[in-house]
Amino acid sequence: MTDHVHTTDEDEHESAYSGLLVNDAHWAFGTDFEDPLAGVDTTIPEGVDAPALAAYALMLGDDALVMSHRISEWTSNAPDLEDDIALSNIALDLLGQARLLLARAAKADASVVPDLPEGSPAPPEDALAFFREAHDFRNVRFAELANGDFADATVRVLLFSIWRLATFERLRSSRDHVLAAVAAKGVKELAYHRDYAARWFVTLAQGTEESRRRLVAALDALWPLWPELFDTHAVEAAAAAAGVGVDPASVREAAEATLDQVLAAADVPRSEAPRRAGVLGRTGRDGMHGEPLSRMLAEMQSVARAHPRGQW
């Protein structure tokens, strides 16, 4: 216990780390996380079923959370610093959306939040992110697919943000104040994500033979799960009927039109890869996921689960 080497005052002054410990308040990591919806009007709109609203918010939140984590896996691994930063920023925006949406789900129906050991400081949105099993997640399967190369990241962000932006453009008029506000802010962020990926899509398509080959391969690989994004689950149908949600089928035309613009500019044909079927008719929205999600969650949740009473 007496063999610490850097204990003198002099050493502390020279340590590059000592300054970091002086004022923790300036670091997001280390400050306490309060309710992200503090003061927001979370009243359930009249005639809306609270558990149905929560189930719908979970779907939107899980899409963002899982996609965010996938994209964040590029941090420190992208082909150059600018794109490393771009992908990290995209992941961060989606994580912010996920936090608000999961908090909204918990506020609408507390019974969706898993029970944590007594004394756990984890807020409801963290409990939802870190203490649910894969089969409780309601994200589309598209969001969870294991990463490939940079062409894959380009196609993935492009398809996902075209779809989510088309959805959020309509969600802005949700009767639920929180969903409407998250969507109004989200469209601004998603427009940057979509256009970033669209530019890279055209660049890679018109680049070298190799970059084009990789891009087309990535499109073929992700295409089978594109149609699932426009399937209408019963929860989404109910949310749309109640005026709080968007029926995915209703955004298909707009999303396909945007995608066709990008494909035309890149001179890349639509993929002919066949749609991937559900498992006994069940897909991501039903909690049916592939092995990649289990692997992702095992890593993403391990620290929180090992220390459910941990203070961060």
Partner: protein, 172 residues
């Protein structure tokens, strides 16, 4: 008399809150940034502050909240409540003229007018056209390096005259 008192107290609370700066853009106060939406004294030494996030995932929000609580507590407000205001969504148009001047003085290019986000948002395949001048040498010969930068709210540019890289607060 009571009303006069409470108005004065509210003004004092506003003045204290208005001193708090952004943790990532410390040359800007929360007022300059347009993030501080409302400050109200609602009871005996009880102040309610409304702030709005710049980006959904902006990690500076927690630090802003802590700083507001610390400053207002230090000024004698025993109960400080910081609320989140999500609607209307923050826009760079809310950055004040003083804030824009402070950004430029710190070598960060201030944002132009934010685009409208009312209807469907058209796809833009070419780099966003902006009239960005180099904050170092004031040359208009600048080029976009990346739409994403050191924080969620910034794009990276470079000046082709003096060759210095710089940040631009991007319009949202």
């Amino acid at each position: 008399m009571v009303r006069l008192m409470s108005r004065t107290t509210t003004e004092r609370a506003r003045a204290v809150a208005a001193r708090v700066t952004d943790p990532e853009l410390p040359m800007l106060t929360l007022v300059d940034l347009g993030v501080l939406r409302d400050v109200e004294v609602v009871g005996d030494a009880h102040v309610v502050v409304d702030i709005t996030p710049t980006y959904s995932g902006c990690p500076a929000m927690a630090a802003m909240r802590d700083d507001l609580v610390r400053e207002l507590s230090g000024a004698g407000f025993d109960r400080v409540e910081v609320r989140v205001s999500l609607d209307p969504a923050w826009t760079t148009d809310w950055i004040t003229p003083a804030g824009r001047a402070a950004l430029a003085a710190a070598g960060i290019s201030p944002p132009g007018p934010a685009p409208s986000h009312d209807g469907p948002i058209p796809l833009t395949l070419l780099p966003t056209a902006r009239q960005v001048r180099c904050p170092q040498c004031d040359s208009p010969a600048t080029e976009l390096v990346s739409e994403f930068g050191s924080t969620a709210c910034k794009a990276q540019y470079r000046c082709t005259a003096c060759l210095e890289p710089f940040d631009h607060v991007k319009e949202i």
